[in-house]
Amino acid sequence: MALSTSRRAINQFIKPLSSSVYATRRLTSDSTATITVETSLPFTAHNIDPPSRSITTSPNELMTFFSDMAEMRRMEIAADSLYKAKLIRGFCHLYDGQEAVAVGMESAITRKDCIITAYRDHCIFLGRGGTLLESFAELMGRKEGCSRGKGGSMHFYKKEGGFYGGHGIVGAQVPLGIGLAFAQKYSKEEYVTFAMYGDGAANQGQLFEALNMAALWDLPAILVCENNHYGMGTAEWRAAKSPAYYKRGDYVPGLKVDGMDVFAVKQACKFAKEHALKNGPIILEMDTYRYHGHSMSDPGSTYRTRDEISGVRQERDPIERIRKLILAHDIATEKELKDIEKEKRKIVDEAIAKAKESPMPDPSELFTNVYVKGFGVEACGADRKEVRATLP
């Protein structure tokens, strides 16, 4: 009895400390300490020498990775429930399973580097500095959304964060990305653009047109193929004669990366940025996996087995990998990690509650942002009845 009370007393004593900054408590959670990790798999390269498998990291970074990915995972699961509750309508493409790509990429670059992707953009938006409230409000079509409720799930943008969307027509964002790289080269700033697309869009012609131009003019563009092996319901081997997407650039070098390993992603993106600034475009193929179906209307099990999904979840889950690393290096306890996840659950729920209270856009918003204010529609057009000039 005495033992339990004393343990309880100790726990009560320790609890407030544990809920504060983790780094100061543990021996090895000194933020200047470096840890060397090896990527799960070596990089496979095409027309280039692959970067090294060993990466140095710090306990701080490990905790940040865990925290960011947990938040993204939580957000996507919450979006799933919101969709089923009919608060999110239309299309909703979830990113859970692929968080390592977003987090790894973000850790290797700055906010002045540009990222552009297709419709599976919620987590990348978060990584670029978007808030949970902006996300959920946009998903529910509210005024406080990142695009004022006018874009929806597929149109998240964050100009200050260098996030250029959020595009519904897959493949079309790659020429846009080349344009971003063109502008970076034009202004002679030493930044790069990551143009992301999926294994389905990898078969679009405009991708190769864009690649040709990027290689021709040495544009600082990095094409990232997030290969989750299924283009909606079609497996990659049924859609592409050559599913080795990193090799499809031919004269453009490519790197195949384990997209479920956040350190591999980080290393590859750092390497790619250095390469692109000097030598022009490079293709990164991220071998990743999505647990949900293509979108909320797709159960995700008609074209793949549940065993496959649970197998990947057990063996390759990005958050689990970080969790094991953290526990192995004694940076935090199991309980602390669970507390972080609970904390994330709480802030996500708070954001959802706040977003639910946010009002729908004003009817006048229907006509705003069609043209840049002050230019454009002056009189009635055959298209819109916004009367600006009194007709005779």
Partner: protein, 408 residues
């Protein structure tokens, strides 16, 4: 709108030389046209901001123009015997506009097929690549979809690309980029990104170029929300519209015509920028309003010669702004004449004329004494044979007949 007219010379130069030329090239127009003429005036306010239309909303400040015209006439009389301005061809006017904007703003760049070293397939960009470099006047591969997309992506970051389609018909390959990304990104991003791109190129029926090279894309693009469309028809408005399109923060599609590139006109030396949303009064009249744009303007003016000889007084308006329509100018004209004839080069189905007919009927039905007549090209692919091609487009005799029937 507290806009200060900077350089009265600029404002005045807009009106007199042009109207003088039009007087010369077409019919004798009564002097009252000078005072009635409003149209293409543009004001640059002292802080460099552009204000479209003298009062911006509705009322055109006619008192500005007439004063300015009067002043100009005084100085013109006092000036040397050589006429003001300089003479050039339409493609040179476009180049002049483009070059002036590229000098003024380092973010303006050109991209398209053969625009650089070759100088442009219609010489619009000749001499620009040696002057500004290969990156700023970019020769692209034949990949309309992706280089238009590239231009739009560059515009998202703040550059002002001018994308040239070698022929407008080729831009059908870039329809997705133009519709979804160019037109809609400002809206779907909630206003975060603006797309100050200009997409330009020659279109329209040429001289036996064949069906695929004689397309009128204004009818396909007109539904896209978020873009503006303008069509130039004279060297004067070509330069002015090019400059306005580049300065506009909205995506603008500038439609040129293959057969109009060699038109010669005297344009002012001073800088001028036209209003993108304004129509141009070519010939004021009383009996019937003829609305037209691009090449058909010349067919209409040719028909107008015949009509005047027959005793009619047509009012000819070059609508210039295809999206949105300048319903103010058009409405004033309809209120005066009560009869409308639309002459266009688009095909009858789903063309600019069809939309314009609907817009006028919706807004000005009470002022019409007769149904609107819309003369358009036939709904056929443009044939190669010369005679067949002539029958595809509207010819002046058809315009004369239509006016006679309307005015019965």
């Amino acid at each position: 709108m507290a806009a200060i007219i900077q350089g009265i010379g600029a404002a005045t130069a807009l009106t007199s030389p042009n109207s003088l030329d039009i007087k010369k090239s077409f019919l004798s127009i009564s002097p009252r046209s000078l005072s009635v003429r409003k149209g293409s005036s543009f004001v640059v306010s002292s802080d460099g901001r552009l204000s479209y239309g003298l009062n911006g909303r509705g009322g055109r400040a006619e008192h500005f123009i007439t004063n300015a015209v009067a002043a100009k006439e005084d100085t013109a009389a006092a000036s040397t015997s050589s006429k003001p301005g300089h003479e050039l061809l339409l493609f040179e006017a476009l180049r002049e506009g483009l070059e002036e904007e590229m000098d003024r703003d380092p973010t303006v760049c050109v991209m398209g097929e053969d625009v650089g070293h070759y100088g442009g397939s219609y010489k619009v960009t000749k001499g620009l690549a040696p002057k500004y470099g290969d990156l700023r006047v970019l020769d692209t591969p034949i990949a309309e979809n992706s280089f238009t997309g590239m231009g739009i992506g560059a515009a998202m970051t703040g550059l002002r690309p001018v994308v040239e389609g070698m022929n407008m018909g080729f831009l059908l390959l870039a329809f997705n980029q133009i519709s979804n990304n160019c037109g809609m990104l400002h809206y779907t991003s909630g206003g975060q990104f603006k797309i100050p791109i200009v997409i330009r190129g020659p279109g329209g029926v040429g001289r036996q170029l064949g069906a695929e090279h004689s397309q009128r894309l204004e009818s396909y693009f007109q539904s896209i929300p978020g873009i503006q469309m303008v069509a130039c028809s004279t060297p004067y408005n070509a330069k002015g519209l090019m400059k306005a399109a580049i300065r506009s923060d909205n995506p603008v599609i500038l439609f040129e015509h293959v057969l109009l590139y060699n038109l010669k006109e005297r344009i002012p030396d001073e800088e001028y920028v036209l209003n993108l949303e304004e129509a141009e009064m070519v010939r004021p009249g009383e009996h019937v309003t003829i609305l037209t744009y691009s090449r058909m303007r010349y067919h209409v003016m040719q028909a107008a010669k015949t009509l005047v000889n027959k005793g009619y007084d047509p009012e000819v308006i070059d609508i210039r702004s295809l999206k949105p329509f300048d319903l103010y100018t058009i409405g004033k004209s309809v209120k005066k004449t009560h009869r409308v004839l639309i002459v266009e080069e688009c095909m009858r189905t789903g063309g600019i004329g069809a939309s314009l007919t609907a817009a006028i009927t919706e807004n000005f039905h009470d002022y019409l004494d007769a149904p609107i007549v819309c003369l358009s090209s036939q709904d056929v692919p443009t044939p190669y044979a010369g005679t067949l091609e002539n029958w595809t487009v509207v010819q002046p005799p058809q315009i004369v007949t239509a006016v006679e029937q309307l005015c019965q």
